[in-house]
């Protein structure tokens, strides 16, 4: 880049910043802060949507004006174990008043697990840069004693048209098998706990949806999702820290990444970090261990040697 073009670039960036003003600047990234959100609660071009795991938590108090998504019915096809089809998603987005010119802020309980999953599904259907996560989610909002409301606020439906599903964001079994067979250069990043990864246990206690086998996808690396989060307030660590965290296991953005967990939902939290915060090429494998671990004859890595849940 020549000196002249550098100067030109600088001038353009400066002019753009001045034109857009502070608020818009704050929302150029994939995250918004609780402070920014509270200042922009009444902006008609900001749509806040809660995606929480625990039922009833939204209804008993949510960020004022927020709409609700029940992830296990709204964002999935309940019978075929698939993400919501294009028509279902389009109907949902229209009902929520979501469109490409609306800044959508997703947030939820449990460190934004399912809000991140929502962001992944939104992205697949063409809503990417205008969809943000509230950094710290419900946890930080509550810790900072910011207001919550229980009354519903009606929104005007949008005329959003769904895009063709972006297949690059979603890894299927064949994509994962290709990495195992070294036919693909993608790396699989498994975000489950070390004990699940090593095969000591098949799943954490209390989960009914299991694989028959214990262990992990051969060649995959393990960074539990929670390591990317500041435990105190649920915010994501800084991009530098995150880069370092994943570089420790050889994930540095030079090769495509596939994120995986047990059922593919927590892994979207890490997918969001890699794809949106760090800008790596990343796909989420929603089949995850309950699909891969159950397929007859596929090779697995099982360092702990657990067979049928025992030794």
């Amino acid at each position: 880049m020549s000196v002249l073009s550098l100067i030109r670039h600088g001038v353009v960036v400066l002019a753009a910043s001045l034109a857009l003003g502070g608020a818009a600047l704050a929302q150029t990234g994939p995250l918004v802060s609780t402070e920014w959100l509270e200042k922009n609660l009444n902006d008609p071009k900001v749509r806040i949507v809660e995606v929480s795991v625990e039922p009833g938590i939204y209804e008993r108090g949510h960020i004022p004006g927020a709409q609700n998504i029940a992830w296990h019915t709204d964002l999935v096809e309940t019978v075929s174990r698939d993400i919501a089809g294009p028509e279902k998603f389009q109907a949902l987005a229209r009902k929520l008043g979501v469109d490409k010119d609306v800044t959508v802020v997703l947030y939820g309980d449990n460190n934004n697990w399912f809000a991140a999953w929502g962001a992944w599904v939104f992205d697949i259907y063409g809503l990417r840069d205008n969809v943000k996560l509230l950094d710290g989610g419900r946890k930080k909002w509550e810790l900072e004693k910011r207001p919550v409301a229980t009354n519903p606020v009606p929104v005007k439906a949008s005329s959003f048209t769904v895009s063709e599903p972006n297949k690059a964001l979603r890894a299927r079994l064949t994509d994962v098998v290709a990495t195992v067979e070294k036919k693909s250069e993608a790396r699989v990043l498994d975000i489950r706990s070390p004990d699940e990864f090593s095969g000591k246990i098949i799943a954490p206690a209390g989960f009914q949806e299991l694989a028959l086998r214990a262990g992990h996808i051969p060649g995959s690396v393990n960074v539990p999702w929670a390591r990317a989060v500041n435990q105190a307030d649920g915010t994501l660590k800084s991009p530098e820290e995150l880069k370092k965290l994943y570089a420790e296991v050889g994930i540095d953005g030079s090769k495509p990444v596939i994120t995986s967990c047990r059922i593919g939902e927590r892994s979207s939290h890490t997918w969001f970090i890699l794809s949106r915060v760090l800008g790596y090429q990343a796909a989420n494998y929603d089949g995850s261990w309950t699909e891969y671990g159950n397929v007859v004859g596929l090779p697995i890595s099982n360092p702990a040697g657990t067979i049928w849940g025992g030794k």
Binding site: E59, R60, T150, N151
Partner: protein
């Protein structure tokens, strides 16, 4: 041998009549003792608010539990005693109190539903409301629970407040209920596969709309109240009413009129649903029984579908302090304070009869609670308030079970 429990239903009618004639007096010692318990409860509420996790939920559970216990004790809101009043004396007041609670609950829930789920016609159910599967197992649960009430002398919520009155039966009934829970869990998988898995979850507003369900509920409550007032015997409240002019005596010494108790029970139910979860008193008891039985390896590794149903969840929780645990603690402590102040704390040494009736009746209560997914509070009150058909079916089974067991027990000379 008669294993009757003469305290299972304290003779409140007699107490009520006497109360009308006695001059009002607050024995200082009794009142100080009650005040000490009340202050200890207040300190606990403060401490839970400071150190609990999550503090607001735990603290509010304790507060609502205390309010519930106080109201239950003061109004003698005991489903079985109320039913016996009606059967034996045609006294409709207690039943009218229950109808009041249900009407307040239904109106309050409908108000909340309008905000939480504006359109009831879709596939979704209002979050956490106790709307359970309706089938033969639910009816069976009601029958067993009713039989358990007749034998042990109370339902679970009344045993809890009776604990605060020093009842000799209630501790055994609650232990018995623990065993009943385990028996319920042991038979769950069979009954689930046989019938529960195919039982529909029926929610009246989905078919009738909110207005329709509310009107239908009110019509039934109104018709029942009209019939009770016609068929019941007029009560002699004149003397008591005159003596109730002193507000301290009216609140702390005299038995509250049942309709007032019902009004508060309904309001507490609505408050609990709005802020925490539907009112219920068995979640903690159930989940602790399940935890214990799991530790002894008594239960099957998986209880099919149990944890996916709405109702008093018995999911095992590791936390020492749970919302429902604190609710129960508050209930018992406030009932104790209220009973102390009113001179109704009368602990007695339990006899073999107390123990036997408590354990056997309690086991039936526990078993019925597992399949009813709650008790008189969690399924009947919170269910009917929620517009759930399951609440009505459980109530029907309960009335039949209670009446049949009582009549049979009396004929055999085992119950009084």
């Amino acid at each position: 041998m008669s294993i009757s429990d003469d305290s299972g239903a304290l003779d409140y009618e007699l107490a009520r009549r006497q109360a009308g004639a006695e001059p009002i007096r607050l024995p200082p010692l009794r009142f100080i003792a009650a005040a000490v318990v009340a202050v200890a409860l207040a300190v606990s509420i403060y401490l839970v608010g400071r150190h609990g996790d999550p503090a607001p939920q735990l603290q509010l559970s304790l507060i609502l539990g205390a309010a519930f216990g106080f109201v239950l004790q003061r109004a003698r809101f005991c489903f079985f005693c109320i039913w016996k009043d009606w059967l034996d004396r045609s006294d409709p007041r207690g039943l009218l109190g229950i109808l009041t609670a249900l009407a307040v609950g239904l109106a309050g829930y409908t108000l909340i539903y309008g905000a939480w789920l504006p359109d009831p016609s879709g596939m979704r159910l209002p979050p956490t409301a106790h709307i359970g599967p309706v089938g033969p197992a639910l009816l069976l649960a009601g029958l067993a629970f009713g039989a358990g009430m007749a034998i042990s002398g109370s339902c679970i919520s009344a045993h809890l407040y009776r604990l605060g009155e020093g009842s000799p039966t209630s501790p055994f009934a609650l232990v018995g209920a623990g065993f009943g829970f385990v028996l319920g869990f042991l038979s769950w998988n069979e009954l689930y596969l046989l019938t529960i898995s195919e039982s529909p979850v029926l929610w009246l507003p989905r078919q009738l709309g909110y207005g329709g369900a509310l009107l239908a509920g009110f019509a039934v409550f109104g018709a029942l109240a009209w019939w009770l007032l016609r068929a019941g015997r007029p009560s002699e409240e004149g003397a008591a009413n005159k003596a109730q002019l002193d507000p301290v005596a009216a609140i702390f010494l005299r038995r509250w009129p049942a309709w007032l108790g019902g009004l508060f029970v309904g309001l507490i139910g609505v408050a609990a649903y709005l802020r925490l979860s539907p009112l219920g008193v068995t979640a903690e008891l159930g989940s602790r029984s399940r935890q214990l039985a799991t530790q002894f390896d008594w239960l099957p590794a998986r209880l099919e579908g149990l944890d996916s149903f709405r109702g008093c969840a018995t999911l095992i929780r590791d936390a020492l302090l749970t919302p429902n645990g604190l609710f129960i603690a508050g209930l018992v402590a406030a009932a104790f304070a209220a009973a102390l102040a009113a001179g109704e704390f009368k602990p007695r040494r339990p006899t073999g009869g107390h123990a036997l009736r408590g354990l056997v009746g309690g086991a039936l209560l526990g078993w019925g609670t597992v399949f009813g997914l709650g008790c008189t509070v969690g399924t009947l009150l919170s269910g009917i308030s929620a517009g759930a058909v399951s609440g009505w079916v459980f109530a029907l089974g309960l009335i039949v079970g209670m009446t049949a067991t009582l009549k049979l027990g009396r004929r055999l000379g085992l119950l009084d």
